[in-house]
Symmetry: C2
Subunit: 289 residues, 2 copies
């Protein structure tokens, strides 16, 4: 089965598990709205790519890890879009969860998505205890305090921001979790795969900054020029466009070079270069030049 | 070690794990504020009481389950108190998290507490895979949709409420999780312990309704007469005070009778009768009479 189908099947099963006659219909619909139709699914695709590069000898563990990462990512989008944070109206070219369903539904849908992520991995514990334990603990670390994505979002509440801790946690933590989880699910050493996640997380953050400056809302699927409006740090604002693009390319190349020796090393290098090019479409760069 | 110390030690360790130099200080403080000083800790105490009645042959599993239940309960209080839900100002005789720290901090603290609950149990997976798997899956079921406490809270967002599903999920689910988890952690059959949790959950909901009508804010630790003000169902409003008290007592006695045969059956019966009496202080009943 191809990677995209594996991810959508695992997410479909997880969302279906949360539905049933006793489920409150609005929150159930809000969960579905947050997960489907798919966004870029970049974190689960990265996770599966690393698992496949390492032989993918237990696809059920890899699929669970991939789905869990995406469920957490969707939860973070739903909560970060709330009025008390970004007050965002659009996401993935449709209304955000709180605009479509209400704030209460958005709070609860995000909460449920966090639980669902751990549930998906827990289903493999009896069959595959050691790998599942590492996946659960790695996921918790990448989400919670002191250094996960919640910590990253938490730095937005501070009067004095530790910018490096903020960016590493806010975006980087889930990319590191993705490469580490892919390795763990396939029985490889996750520590050797952290650098790939760190570099790709940083590259992704810069690509996001470039899209915010050079894209339009329809292309990007959400409002643009938000960093300037909300006074958030942006690499293009700090470095200028040319230097930001150069930094992005250098990070991607560093990521590619960091890939440890594994059976699928060649294909993974190729895939990461190709995927990275899609993050910043040519026309954005022409327009910004 | 006594039960109270076991619970506080496990929670202290979990909260300390979330702190560190990379943690945003305000969210970290909000998490601590949500967990300490202790509330009644009724769910973790129930969990440990059931584990002890079943021999408690793996106290680390029981302590993890107890701490996880309380972390989830604290998360639910923080999110339920938000302005979009109850907009509560006081909880456990001090300001609620969003009043003390802000809405953003409250959203993030609640999110982190959910993750911390699963993390606490996941730390035992390698040592004790089968019991930990059952604890993780049982916890997820009691929290998420379709029938956990998030589903219960979700019924408050619906124009037409399924009252029975609402109450079973909103309060009952975490009581069932507590008795089932106590049994699981001690290697007993959790299914035999669900009825105890169901009856105690229903009794606790009625006691809460009675306290809302007959207590004052200082005694209860939070504002009273909220059910009437928010148009929420209340057993005293529906049945009258005398019938509500009678229903409470009958549920407690049914709970006591439902306790399965186990080494600590006698002590557990005694403990549940004694704890239940503390839920509705004599003076409330005199005042209401």
């Amino acid at each position: 089965m191809d990677v995209a189908s594996r991810i959508e099947d695992a997410l479909t099963a997880a969302v279906a598990n949360a539905e049933g006659v006793t489920a409150p219909p609005r929150v159930a619909a809000a969960i579905r709205h947050a997960v489907f139709p798919p966004g870029s699914r970049i974190r689960p695709r990265l996770c599966l790519a690393v698992a496949i590069a390492n032989g993918d000898d237990d696809p059920r563990s890899a699929d669970a890890a991939a789905a869990a990462l995406e469920l957490i990512h969707c939860a973070s989008l739903v909560h970060d879009d709330l009025p008390c944070f970004d007050d965002a109206a659009m996401r993935r070219n449709k209304p955000t969860v709180h605009r479509a369903f209400g704030q209460r539904e958005a709070v609860l849908a995000g909460d449920a998505l966090i639980v669902m992520a751990f549930d998906v991995i827990a289903r493999n514990v009896v069959r595959q205890p050691a790998r599942s334990a590492a996946l659960l603990l790695g996921l918790a670390e990448s989400v919670s305090l002191p250094s996960g994505i919640i910590a990253g979002q938490g730095w937005e509440c501070e009067p004095a921001v530790d910018l490096s801790a903020y960016q590493r946690a806010k975006t980087g933590a889930l990319f590191v979790a993705a490469t580490a989880a892919g390795a763990t699910a396939a029985g490889a050493n996750p520590l050797q795969w952290r650098e790939l996640g760190e570099r790709l997380g940083e590259a992704y953050q810069i690509a996001d900054d470039i899209r915010d400056v050079a894209g339009n809302a329809e292309e990007v699927g959400k409002p643009v020029r938000r960093d300037a409006a909300l006074g958030r740090p942006n690499a293009v604002g700090a470095l200028g466009m040319a230097a930001a693009v150069e930094r992005f390319e250098s990070l991607v190349e560093g990521a590619v070079q960091s890939i440890p020796r594994c059976t699928g090393q060649f294909l993974l290098r190729h895939m990461i270069r190709a995927e990275s090019q899609r993050l910043i479409p040519e026309e954005f760069l022409k327009r910004a030049a």
